[in-house]
């Protein structure tokens, strides 16, 4: 810059010469606007140039003179002899200062102040118009990364201000890592397209150390010709070490996991946007934008290093299993404690037992919750399957999933994979028709297979729904008769007919295909689901499609049960299916003795006496209890000697030797150390139905 100082001084001297002439002329023609402008311009130019060399003394002084002259120019102040005199003196003072422009001597300072004082007397007060405009380059330096979301909608005519959007994008990118989404929906078709018009809306996610103002400064020139929204999404941590430590951090610092483990766990996280899009709740561009945000936020967190991380950890499932096991034992022990404490009339013991009960329930719920996994990952695995199958079969199929966030016990989900594969295969192979057949039937060319998961009480219901041809009742029935599964004269309900396809050795596909195999599928599925404590329900409308519903317990390990007694034995009825507990009065017992019916909420309901079922031939007790249950075979009453109460219990498998045992799903150890069997109501009621229809 030094080489220009001389240029500046020379020019300033020239300008001051001109100024003197102008001022003298102005004295004779005080209304001459051009002269006033010229005078103002001289002061303005000197100020501007002096500022470039940081000649502060000159800048500050000329600024005051300039603003006075600006008032004159604006008509707020009239040209008077005093004004001209003062301005001339100012000119002389500037001339003096130019001899040593970078120095501010006490003499020149006091002279400046003196003249400014004179000007102030003249104008009342010198208005300081120093409205600082936003600077084009920021000065503040942030040392941590922040994430900004920037919505930028340029005005349609923005190009007419010579704005180069590419330069703008480049500038943003230079600030940090920038993800750009261009919304192109407003671009018209070619015939209506004006190349001089800006149609695109922009959204940016910027990870940068820059401050909010610095980010806004990128748009400083276009602010007036666009809509702009800059939001700080994640603020950079300025004070390191403050705030609580994340679980991941702690685990790393203890050497329990490596940072890689943590990153792995982070990656296992499923983006919410995907679920929402799968559910069709939000549009694609919404999801894209949200995904961008999520991605950049995650990146940012990784960048921040010590900052927030998703606090998930990966744990071996055996560890969880053994935790759940221990919790199960604890629940059992707690039940024993409650039982013992009830025998002693000791308030402090009772209080303690209650506390332990509350805590163990809480612990149980938490431990079970650890094993809960959303089913969405399983669902998404089927996309490939559907794609490959539809290619093989020459069908066009869309897979829709809903409720992927529904959580199920991990062990249930693991065992669910094969049955689901089978059911989907069946839907695609037998259900969905070829594109040609679909078009002829007046349907859309593409078939749809939907996987839907939802909670239903203590169960999760998973539906495999297709919009294919539906099950053919007649064909199923004739096939079943052919195979001897159904008697010639037997009349079956719709549901019973559909259930036939779950029988071993049943397959209705005209030809055996690679896909569906030889009819060994559905019965395996049925067994698998039953072994999970679940049940299958099939509905189908000819020509419209079929729905196969799998009802599964939330968890396998713990059951909420109703403890009942028959003779000396105790049994557990799953509480989820219990609707009511009644007393079976002697009169009622006598009233419908042969038919074994009782009246429940206005309708007649059959009952089963467990005592008879388990061949306990001793005398009936005077008073019996009725447990009304909802089973897949309808509402049934289960008659027991006594209802003891509800009971949380850990299910234990009976072991290999008892694997063919009907009517019982498992066993549990009671508080007093004795054992109780868990009843399979569906089997029991099915048996009763068979017996009653067989006339036993």
């Amino acid at each position: 810059m030094d080489q220009f100082k001389q240029v500046f001084i020379e020019e300033a001297e020239e300008l001051l010469g001109t100024l003197e002439d102008h001022l003298l002329n102005l004295e004779d023609a005080p209304e001459d606007r051009e002269l006033i402008d010229a005078v103002f311009r001289v002061m303005h130019t000197i100020k501007g140039s002096a500022a470039m060399f940081d000649f502060k003394g000159i800048v500050d002084f000329t600024h005051v003179v300039e603003s006075v002259l600006d008032q004159v120019r604006g008509g707020d102040l009239s040209v008077t002899r005093e004004l001209i005199e003062l301005t001339l003196q100012s000119r002389d003072h500037i001339h003096e200062m130019l001899s040593a422009p970078s120095d501010i001597t006490p003499e020149s300072e006091s002279r400046s102040r003196e003249l400014i004082g004179e000007f102030e007397k003249l104008t009342g007060r010198v208005e300081d118009k120093r409205n600082k405009p936003p600077a084009a380059g920021g000065e503040e330096e942030e040392s941590f990364f922040s994430l900004y979301r920037i919505l930028f909608i340029p005005d349609r005519d923005i190009f007419f201000s010579g704005t180069n959007l590419i330069a703008l994008l480049e500038e943003l990118q230079e600030l940090g890592e920038c993800s750009t989404i261009a919304y192109t929906s407003e671009i018209p078709s070619l015939s209506g397209y004006n190349p001089e018009t800006s149609y695109i809306r922009w959204e940016f996610f910027l990870t940068t150390k820059a401050s909010l103002n610095e980010v806004k400064d990128v748009f400083i020139f276009v602010e007036s010709s666009c809509q702009l929204e800059v939001t700080l999404l994640v603020e950079g941590d300025r004070e390191e070490g403050e705030g609580e430590k994340r679980l991941g951090e702690i685990l790393i610092s203890r050497g329990l996991i490596t940072p890689d483990d943590l990153t792995g766990a982070l990656k296992a996280q499923k983006p919410v946007g995907q679920i929402m899009m799968e559910n069709g709740l939000i549009s694609r561009s919404d999801v894209e934008s949200a995904l961008y945000q999520q991605k950049t936020e995650r990146k940012l967190r990784e960048k921040q290093g010590s900052g927030e991380r998703e606090n998930t950890i990966r744990v071996k499932s055996e560890k969880l299993d053994s935790l759940v096991d221990s919790v199960g034992e604890l629940v059992t022990a707690q039940a024993r404690l409650s039982q013992i404490s009830s025998q002693y009339d000791d308030p402090s013991l009772n209080a303690l037992a209650e506390l332990i009960e509350r805590l163990s329930t809480e612990l149980r719920d938490n431990a079970m919750g650890l094993r809960m996994v959303p089913i969405g990952t399983t669902f998404s695995r089927f996309k490939r399957l559907v794609r490959d199958l539809s290619n093989t079969l020459g069908k066009e199929i869309i897979l829709e999933t809903k409720g992927g966030e529904t959580e199920l016990d991990k062990s249930v989900i693991d065992k669910l994979n094969d049955p689901l594969v089978h059911l989907i295969r069946n839907s695609i192979d037998h259900g969905i028709e070829c594109p040609q057949a679909r078009l002829e039937a007046g349907k859309r060319r593409e078939g749809t297979v939907s996987l839907i998961a939802d909670y239903s009480g203590a169960n999760v219901v998973i539906q495999i729904r297709d919009d294919g041809a539906g099950l053919n009742k007649e064909r199923i029935l004739s096939k079943a008769r052919e195979k001897g599964l159904v008697g010639v004269d037997e009349v079956l309900t719709e549901n019973e007919i559909f259930k036939l396809i779950l029988q071993p050795g049943f397959s209705t596909a005209k030809e055996v295909t690679d896909v569906s195999g030889r009819g060994v599928g559905m019965d395996v599925v049925s067994k698998e689901i039953e072994s999970l404590g679940g049940s299958i329900f099939i509905t189908s409308t000819s020509g419209k499609g079929s729905t196969i519903s799998l009802s599964l317990p939330l968890t396998l390990a713990i059951i909420e049960g109703l403890l009942v007694r028959i003779g000396d034995e105790k049994f557990v009825i799953p509480l989820a299916s219990v609707q009511a507990c009644l007393e079976l009065s002697r009169e009622e017992r006598e009233l419908h003795r042969e038919k074994r019916l009782f009246e429940f909420r206005g309708s007649m309901v059959p009952y089963i006496r467990l005592r008879e079922l388990f061949l306990d031939r001793r005398d009936l007790p005077l008073r019996e209890h009725l447990v009304v249950t909802q089973t897949e075979n309808g509402i049934f009453g289960i008659v027991v000697d006594e209802v003891i109460g509800d009971y949380q219990t850990v299910i234990k498998n009976l072991g290999r030797l008892y694997k063919n045992l009907q009517l019982i799903t498992g066993a549990t150890i009671l508080g007093d150390g004795t054992m109780a069997l868990i009843l399979d109501l569906n089997k029991i009621t099915a048996l009763a139905k068979v017996e009653s229809s067989a006339g036993i």
Partner: protein, 121 residues
Amino acid sequence: MKQILIVDDSRTVRDSLKFFLREGGYEVLEGSDGVEALDVLKTARPNLIITDVNMPNMDGLTLLENVRNSPEHKFTPVLVLTTESQQSIMERGKSLGATGWIVKPFDSQKVLAVIKKVLGG
């Protein structure tokens, strides 16, 4: 090489701008007021115009209007030289189609940063 037209009545400003711009790798054209600038624009097609506002004969904003109304230059970016006290000029400049502004006093770094902002890298 990108060409920049600088329009200012102050030789100090022109000379120092010219120096910065040449160091920044730009070719420089000059005019000392709006009339001279329009003369230059009859034959030249600069990539950018930097103009002062307050100038004799034709001020910068009138020059800007002329540029925006000419078919050859209507999309040419125009930067207006202003000072801190001239907020209203910036606003008027923007409404007349200025691309941006350079606030005086300026140094080499600032000028080149603003030009890059407008012309790209």
